[in-house]
Amino acid sequence: MMDMKLVVNNKPYTLNIDPKERLIDVLRNRLGLMGTKEGCGEGECGACTVIIDGKTVNSCLVLAAQANGSEITTIEGVGNRHKPHTVQKAFVEVGAVQCGFCTPGMVLSAKNLLDKNSQPSDDEISVAMSGNLCRCTGYDKILRAVKIASQEGKQ
């Protein structure tokens, strides 16, 4: 076991973890942040995407220990039912959510893109979203939602 520090959604945590634990396991099982989904568990689908120190990663491929000292944003830190993020609003408006399982990861990839590049081109949106798979929507509505969110500007 080892001690580590994390800041998740602006809240500091000191944890005692098994160094074998993946970040997704610590987020879900120890911190109860169930918004981060495990899809494939092998870094292909992006459902488990979180933002570590301003960069999106697959939390199923990161040991929690690697994130020691880092700042993490999960979907719970982006918005909620009462105060949705611009990206979340756009997803709902356009109908970019069907089963919803990929949505948290999609929203984090989109948010991180817009944080860095508030007016992305269609190509830049496609590349930024290329690590997130969706089996329902066919992507068109998702890409449109990101475009609309970018036009509405940051929240």
């Binding site: 160094p19 292909e44 960069k55 999106t56 990663v57 491929l61 000292g69 290329s130 690590g131 798979l133």
Partner: protein, 280 residues
């Protein structure tokens, strides 16, 4: 399992020497292998907190890349684009944005998958690898290192890479089953020293053709010292197909790859040479 997070290279090597710990770079392969049980480390040395391993810089003779530079960092770096264009191109398509944010060039070599995207460009560009172990430091060409088995001993740390600044122009292309997020079925990197219309020195490296990426000696001989034009490209296509045929023999993928390599080779050339050759 023990977990170490050293702050310096010396400290990391010392831990490796006195324990049976394995090095952990980005972890995109290792963490997955641990999850499936394929690898069960006794201890891990996480190199992620050693800032000197993340350096990317140009010296008078070399472009130096720390082993912990991520694909995203390399793919956004102007020095890499300018002096190691093939590597820069490979960094745009490796994995997904999430993987590129985490995966490192050193990890790409340490894991040494046959399909490792970073290795063909490094081979074509004549990269050397800086290694540190309990036995001392070593600089070895990547080509020679890839002929070793095992690739690295347990206590050998990949400090970084250095690419000689020889003014090579280079390109890269890969074939995957889809455009994004696909493992390379085949990859080609080409680096050329160009004088006027002449390709004075040509280096072609192939990935996912055999156990490890390799540099083709015979392609270098066939294509060097000649004018770059349509005929030269066609000759290259013919020769690269021969190399793939010879390298793959009777493997199931051979009939597919020896045809497909023609297109991937053309694409690699087109990634930095205007259509029809330099004169066009």
């Amino acid at each position: 399992m023990k977990y170490f997070q050293p702050q310096s290279v010396r400290e990391a090597v010392e831990i490796a020497r006195t324990s049976e710990a394995d090095f952990l770079a980005g972890g995109t392969d290792l963490v997955l292998h641990m999850q499936t049980g394929k690898i069960q480390p006794i201890a891990l040395i996480d190199l992620g907190k050693i800032s000197e391993l993340k350096l990317i810089r140009k010296t008078p003779e070399y472009l130096e890349i720390g082993s912990m530079a991520t694909f995203a960092e390399l793919g956004q770096n102007e020095l890499i684009d300018k002096h190691a264009h093939a590597l820069w191109l490979a960094c745009q398509t490796m994995g997904s944005p999430q993987i590129r944010n985490q995966a490192t060039l050193g990890g790409n070599l340490g894991n040494c998958s046959p399909a490792a995207d970073g290795l063909p460009p490094l081979l074509a560009l004549g990269a050397e690898v800086e290694l540190i172990s309990g036995n001392g430091d070593e600089v070895v060409s990547l080509e020679r290192l890839l002929s070793r088995t095992p690739l690295l001993t347990q206590d050998t740390l990949i400090r970084g890479f250095r690419i000689p600044l020889k003014g090579l122009q280079s390109g890269f292309a890969k074939l995957g089953r889809r455009r994004a997020l696909a493992i390379a079925r085949l990859s080609v990197a080409v680096a050329i020293e160009i004088e006027g219309d002449l390709a004075t020195d040509v280096r072609v490296a192939l990935g996912a053709v055999g156990r490890r990426a390799f540099l083709s000696e015979s392609l270098a001989q066939e294509l060097s010292g000649q004018e770059i034009n349509e005929a030269w490209i066609e000759k290259g296509v013919e020769q690269v197909q021969r190399i793939v045929r010879e390298a793959l023999g009777a493997r199931a993928s051979a009939p597919y790859k020896r045809v497909a390599v023609a297109g991937v080779f053309r694409e690699a050339l087109a990634s930095f040479i205007p259509e029809g050759g330099l004169k066009a």
